[in-house]
Amino acid sequence: MNKILTSLLLIFSLGLLLAVQVAAQDDIIEINFVHIFSDDLRPLVIQEIIDEFETIYPNVRVNSYSTNADSDYNEIFLSALDNADLGQAPNVVQVESGLTQQAVDFGYFVPISELATEEQLASLDDILPSVLGSYVIDGQLWGLPWNLSNPIMYYNTDAFEAAGLDPDDPPRTFADVTAACEALMAADLGFDACVNWPMSTWFIEQWVSMGNALFVNNGNGRDARATEVFFDSDEVLDAMVWWDELDANGFYTYTGRIGDNNGEGVAFLTQRTPIHINSSAGLTLFQNFAQFGLGVTYLPLPHEDATNGVTVGGGGVWVMIDQTEEEMRASADFVFFLTSTANDIKWHQGTGYIPIRESSYNQLVDEGYYDENPFFFVPVTQLVESQANVATAGAVIGPSTEVRNQLIAASQQILDGNLQTRDEIRAILTTARGRAEAELLDYNLDFE
């Protein structure tokens, strides 16, 4: 008797709970948008854009999510995939350009060109051709570019003056940087080294692109899957030889940690180096915190003729599969709204990321925005003046982390030793190339 009573009570209570849970559903379409920005500034700009979107599309609600403070592109990408496997895919995901091939291969995303209306596709006309081109794989437009940045050179104008250099005529090429470093270090201003930049392959890839060369074969992996990586090309070799020379002369330094963007930036801000190469995304930060005269210029060219321009890089917004028809529609509307001219300008002014549309650029120039913010003009013109071709579109590589890690290891190996001959450097790069191509081969095996 007791037992029966207990069981009845139990069932009844559970039923009650269930009844309470079943709430009335309204027909609001909810869109979940995942991005990496968890700082104080950028989510506010995003929310502003979302609020505006919701007034135009009253039946759509956009929830913007970012993960914890130090999460990176890889983490949000992988957690989006994992959530999709659990049937909880977010609708719109920010995907870094290095992950393009994986995003295409893994089958979790719908190409924008399949979702967009004629009208929306037409609105892509004024996106910078080199930028849009980097999102086209096999003739399909997969995502929309959103947060773009490129590497620029920051320098300490006080130090330049003290060393008798003209701060208004910053170094333009590798040779200029070396010459400036000789002057800066000879002046004995108490710097640890002359120049620093994060241990990464990003800068090397820019120098390859500037020389209008490819980083991987098959049209930088865009005509067909990449099978070779050109680590030992003349362009990579030139950059490595220069880098090794700087290092051997005590001109170059890094924190010893891979991809330590913040650590390297702090070294420049605390005046341990007078020249610093890093992403334009840090521009606002440097402007706010530099206790010395800040100068900003273009990423140095390998040589005078290497004017092909920088790669696009940054992140784009992609739409995930497993959504209802309405959600897909709303997601597409949202990504187009997010990257429209008005919001492109708002995003640029609010965060320092580079505008992606010619119309935005023209409008900003007309309004005289860059007269007040001359530093922002540097990364923007650097991008606008880049040629639109496969070299500047950047490499798409399936196992991108693995392949790039091999080049990072090779760079460290080259810097770790004393000054090495060009042939020794080439040998190290060729070994790394072999290892990277083995990674590529292993990956391609499963996706062909």
Binding site: F106, G256, T270, A409, Q412, D416, D446, F447
Partner: protein, 536 residues
């Protein structure tokens, strides 16, 4: 008395009902999160018949030569070992014990091979052979292992009976057990054209599977009859209430521990990529073979062993010394103790952040700043491949030191003072008292700390490395291995820093790591706990 028990039972039932209600409410609240788990459980239950059908079908199709080979190996191994175990348990023969001297001799032999950079397999093999040979040489009581007496003892009818019994029981259990791990590998290691490494690993897993069945079989056939279990120890009479109370624990263990473990083990036999672009394919033991042949993995393995040994030895010996000092009866001893335990309150990440500010390569690092100011050369603490592991070890030791000190301080308070005083009166000096009384009485603490420290060095060290050496630290001479890239860091990096990784490879890494830690812990329980004196 009777009323009391009844009252308690009602209490227990009330708690159980409340627990179920709470769980029900919680699950409904968080249904979105729970749904996949319940779907998983449901699918598992629903797929049982098809799993059985699969196995039946499987045995219909399997290559007969492979099947007989695996059954044969299991049966022969099981029969021989069981006969031996039975005869030994009946005290008909005795075998050498593994004495501490033998153990350390084995370690010494292995260390020599390690220093001369022999391969991982040779180092482990030399350890095993060293221990066994030294045991035989050192154990005077049993050196007559194969003597005339032993042979005579084996000739008696009792011995023969036990041997036959062992052969029969062992052959059956061994043959059944051999299939346990071989079926998941689809007998692929017994195929004609398989890689030799995979073939040997196949034999090894056949034997391990056999042991999994053999060990319970031994316990079952040799158990003492008529030994009553302590009936007063249990409180609950029925099974429903305790089961209800256990449901939350069992459910979470099932979902978060057992299922993932089996899934990972199964995954380690596949070639699998993330996403829906590539179908997983069965890949025999190739993931393990590739790991064995991967020089980066070998280096990571060796780094892990070195770091673990150094962290365990240093953290425990330093902690004991500090605990001895902290146990002195001085003014404000409590304050000192609290301050000494403090580092344990820091997470590994915070510890590493402190260390990075101390050990930065340039002059902004505290240590280098000091070296610089006294005119000494600065050291590249973070980027020099020979120094970096020691910075890691120092940070890890600092991190876990407080934990060890707590236990040793507590342990030292349990060492009876009268015992120490008696020894002092008998003329034992400080060192003698320490080594002959304090250390043996601390052995339960030492044993526990050993297990905890080994586990920390294998798993807990991740946070320290991720902050101190993101990417795995400086390069080693081969241009691709890294000096602080221990196994746990490597498996995490490989899995979560890149989406492109072949998932079977990282699954195999996890399994190797698991087997390693489980094996070490098992060894510790088997051979060290017997030497622990619990002061009871």
């Amino acid at each position: 008395m009777q009323d009391n028990i009844r009252f308690d039972r009602l209490w227990a039932r009330a708690v159980a009902i409340f627990t179920v209600l709470f769980l029900g409410w919680f699950i409904l609240q968080e249904w979105r999160g729970f749904e996949p788990f319940f779907r998983l459980l449901w699918d598992a239950v629903m797929s049982t018949p098809s799993a059985i059908a699969y196995i039946v079908n499987y045995y219909g199709d399997v290559e007969t030569s492979a099947l007989f080979a695996s059954l044969g190996i299991g049966a022969v191994f099981g029969g021989l070992v069981t006969a031996f175990v039975f005869v030994k348990r009946q005290k008909i023969i005795t075998v050498p014990r593994i004495l501490p001297g033998a153990f350390w001799s084995g370690v010494a032999v292995a260390a020599v091979f390690f220093l001369f950079e022999a391969s991982m397999a040779i180092v482990l093999l030399s350890l095993l052979v060293g221990v066994v040979v030294a045991s035989y040489l050192l154990d005077i009581d049993t050196r007559l292992f194969l003597s005339k007496e032993t042979r005579q003892a084996l000739g008696t009818p009792t011995a023969r009976r036990w041997m036959w019994r062992g052969l029969a029981v062992g052959a059956i259990a061994g043959a059944v057990g051999s299939q346990l791990l071989v079926v998941p590998t689809r007998h692929c290691t017994f195929a004609g054209d398989v890689d030799p490494t995979a073939r040997w690993m196949g034999y090894a897993i056949t034997l391990i599977g056999a042991l999994v069945v053999l060990i319970p079989a031994w316990t079952f056939t040799l158990r003492r009859r008529g030994k009553s279990t302590d009936s007063t120890s249990g409180y609950f009479k029925g099974w429903s209430t305790p089961l209800l109370l256990l449901v939350p624990t069992l459910l979470s263990l099932l979902v978060f521990l057992y299922y993932p473990s089996f899934r990972i083990a199964a995954q380690s036999l596949l070639r699998e990529r993330r996403g829906r672009g590539a179908e997983p394919t069965f890949d025999c033991l190739n993931n393990y073979v590739n790991l064995m042949n991967d020089s980066v993995y070998q280096n990571s393995f060796m780094t892990t062993i070195t770091v673990t040994v150094a962290v365990v030895v240093l953290s425990m010996s330093v902690a004991l010394l500090i605990a001895l000092l902290a146990s002195q009866r001085v003014r404000g001893a409590n304050v000192y103790r609290t301050l000494l335990i403090w580092p344990y309150a820091l997470s590994p990440v915070v510890t590493a952040a402190i260390f990075i500010s101390m050990f930065r390569d340039d002059r902004s690092g505290l240590i280098n700043h000091m070296l610089n100011s006294i005119g000494a050369d600065t050291v590249r603490w973070i980027t020099d491949a020979t120094v970096a592991p020691w910075v890691l070890i120092a940070a890890a030791v600092y991190n876990i030191l407080g934990f060890n000190i707590i236990f040793y301080v507590a342990g030292l308070q349990n060492v009876p003072r009268d015992l120490l005083e008696a020894a002092q009166i008998d003329g034992a000096n400080v060192l003698q008292r320490f080594f002959k009384i304090t250390i043996p009485l601390l052995s339960p603490y030492t044993f526990f700390l050993l297990v905890a420290n080994v586990t920390y060095s294998f798993y807990g060290i991740y946070g320290v490395i991720d902050t101190l050496f993101p990417g795995g630290g400086p390069l080693l001479a081969d241009g691709q291995s890294r000096a602080a890239n221990v196994l746990i860091y490597k498996v995490y990096e490989d899995t979560f820093r890149s989406g492109a990784i072949q998932l079977g490879n990282v699954a195999a890494q996890s399994i190797v790591l698991f087997v390693l830690v489980a094996g070490i812990t098992l060894l510790q329980f088997r051979y060290l706990e017997t030497r622990v004196t619990y002061a009871d």
